[in-house]
């Protein structure tokens, strides 16, 4: 079945699909929006396999543009509205996009795009008039054709476009629904952008079960999101580590009742144990799902069952339904407990590769498996714990040092909102350990306080050689720390 039909087939027409700051959209209204935009694409000559870009903030219009593109067999290319104009232009050209869905703020920011490409403005004034008909399903539809080209966050390298097929989307969505036990009764607060695979997974899974997505684009002011969660009686929330760092240490989140909040999802990087414990303690009735994934796996690869949250604290769990995860050493054989190896994944959610990048694809995807680039250990029950990104390991005085271990120690200091550790070139050591930290507003915590804390808890060779205070850590469009930028800052200092 075409993925757009797959997403819409379980919903009750009267149920709410979306709640935003100024509107509520039922599934019947949403289906009409999707049909309108599918018709627009057909009228503009967009055909099967053509690439259609979406450049807009999260909204029901964004979702309708996405489903309309999937429905006619075209390929959705979601683009971050935080990219500078030349980056947007490069992505459009690289993907050879033939059409662009854009909203008013993006139209103002990227002024020249619509003079070079057929565009449709995602604005409510364009959705009036007679309801359009949803195109007929194509019985010859190929599940292994590309559905979307997703930008990968690339914390160490330039972004690439990951090919995601219809089979990938449906397989991963089915798995996510199963382990999160999602139902039509869910009301999911969405602050993560839909152009990010994690944000997209929220859209996919909640549409598929006919649930409601509550969209907020104002996480810049977290209190507005919390107010909306109360008003809309949200049952779920999803965040990356930086989301939860802000909520836990710079907002009233821990003091808000939120009685309907039942599920908190955490993925997009490691949230260190000190903050995980604060998160679990903040809303005792809610389950915390610690999860792990990559864009190259559509979204999700593993999860830790909430019932094992405390017993397996710090683990990313085991493979989600339909996904096989192994941790392999350099010889390609599974490691034993106590050893470290690379996480390798198999499943119908694994992308066929990057767009037009054979070299990078062959490095990452080998014999149908995804080589994640994440180093991990495994316990005797098969629960995996990430040690570090392969590329982020610090090599100092002959030791291989995990930045995660040091970051975890730093975040035990309540006055720190965030911390990131990298290796900087050092003549004697090879690399020295440098900690970049962000203090809570008003904190006067000094370098010596931090080093004293580390000396009491870490092996001597892992104590940072220097602590650099920043007003905030550089993040990419997905909210992940850009360690490459920190290394540049450190070298320049």
């Amino acid at each position: 079945m075409n993925t757009a039909d797959y997403f819409l087939s379980h919903a009750s027409d009267d149920a709410l699909a979306f709640i935003t700051a100024d509107a509520q959209v039922s599934y019947s209204q949403f289906k009409a929006m999707c049909a309108r935009l599918a018709g627009e694409l057909i009228q503009n000559g967009i055909q099967v396999g053509d690439r259609v870009a979406i450049l807009a903030k999260n909204s029901p219009f964004w979702a309708a543009a996405y489903l309309a593109t999937l429905k006619i067999g075209a390929v959705a290319v979601p683009i971050s509205n935080l990219y500078p104009p030349d980056e947007v232009q490069r992505t459009l050209e690289f993907a050879q996009c033939k059409f662009l869905f854009i909203d008013k703020p993006a139209q103002g920011k990227y002024a020249n795009l619509c003079s070079r490409l057929s565009c449709f403005l995602l604005d409510k004034s364009h959705f009036q008039g007679d309801p359009a008909l949803w195109p007929e399903s194509d019985p010859g539809f190929d599940l292994d054709s590309d559905a979307a080209l997703m930008p990968t966050s690339g914390t160490t390298a330039c972004p690439r476009l990951v090919r995601v097929t219809h089979r990938n989307l449906q397989a991963n969505t089915d798995s996510i629904i199963e382990y999160l036990e999602l139902t039509a009764a869910e009301r999911m607060m969405v602050v993560l952008p839909f152009y990010y695979c994690y944000g997209a997974s929220l859209l996919h899974s909640h549409l598929r079960v006919g649930a409601t997505l509550v969209i907020s684009n104002t996480f810049t002011y977290p209190e507005t999101v919390l107010d909306m969660m109360e008003t809309a009686q949200c049952t779920g929330f999803a965040g990356v580590p930086s989301t939860y760092q802000i909520l836990l240490r710079n907002s009233t989140f821990p003091r808000r009742e939120l009685p309907r909040l039942m599920k908190m999802q955490q993925a997009g990087g490691k949230l260190h144990n000190a903050l995980l414990q604060e998160l679990a303690a903040s809303h005792l009735a809610a389950s915390v799902y610690v999860m792990y994934g990559q864009t190259e796996a559509t979204a999700r690869l593993s999860y830790l069952p909430p019932g094992l949250f405390h017993e397996k604290m710090g683990s990313i769990g085991r493979g989600i339904p339909g996904v096989s995860l192994k941790v392999l050493n350099e010889n390609g054989t599974p490691i034993q407990p106590g050893e470290t190896g690379e996480i390798v994944a198999w499943g119908e959610n694994i992308s066929p590769g990057y767009l037009d990048d054979e070299e990078a694809s062959s490095e990452k995807f080998r014999s149908g498996a995804l080589y994640t680039g994440d180093l991990a250990t495994i316990d005797d029950e098969g629960f995996i714990s990430i040690v570090d990104r392969k590329s982020d390991f610090i090599k100092s005085f002959g030791h291989r040092i995990s930045s995660y271990e040091i970051e975890s120690c730093l975040l035990q200091i309540p006055e720190l909102v965030s911390a990131a550790v990298v290796g900087l070139p050092d003549e004697q050591a090879g690399e020295r350990v440098a900690a970049f930290v962000v203090r809570k507003t008003g904190s006067t915590l000094a370098e010596q306080d931090i080093l004293q804390h580390c000396r009491a808890r870490l092996a001597r060779h892992t104590v940072p050689a220097q602590v650099i205070f920043l007003p905030n850590l550089p993040l990419n469009a997905h909210g992940k720390v850009l360690k490459s930028e920190l290394r540049k800052m450190g070298k320049a200092a």
Partner: protein
């Protein structure tokens, strides 16, 4: 007082958030969110600046678009806090 507050905010945001050597080029009523001037980490920086520069305390619950989302609204918020303090 209002003009001094506005000037301090424009200078801080232009220099430290926008990295714009030519100064703050937006209008005083332009939304920070809509124009991509501030993100969630930028707001934290602005709060730190306000507390340090104006010697007032900003409560988490006060960090709302009504108080924070433009030079004009921030100015009104800060002057209200200063008047209350005095």
């Amino acid at each position: 007082m209002m003009q001094a507050i506005q000037a301090a905010l424009r200078e801080y945001i232009a220099k430290n958030i926008l990295f714009a050597p030519d100064g703050f080029s937006y209008g005083d009523d332009d939304s920070f969110i809509e124009n991509g001037i501030l993100d969630s980490t930028g707001v934290v920086e602005v709060v730190a600046f306000i507390e340090d520069h104006f010697k007032i305390s900003v409560e988490d619950a006060e960090i709302t678009p009504q108080n924070f989302d433009s030079i004009s609204s921030l100015t009104v918020y800060i002057s209200g806090k200063l008047n209350h303090k005095n």
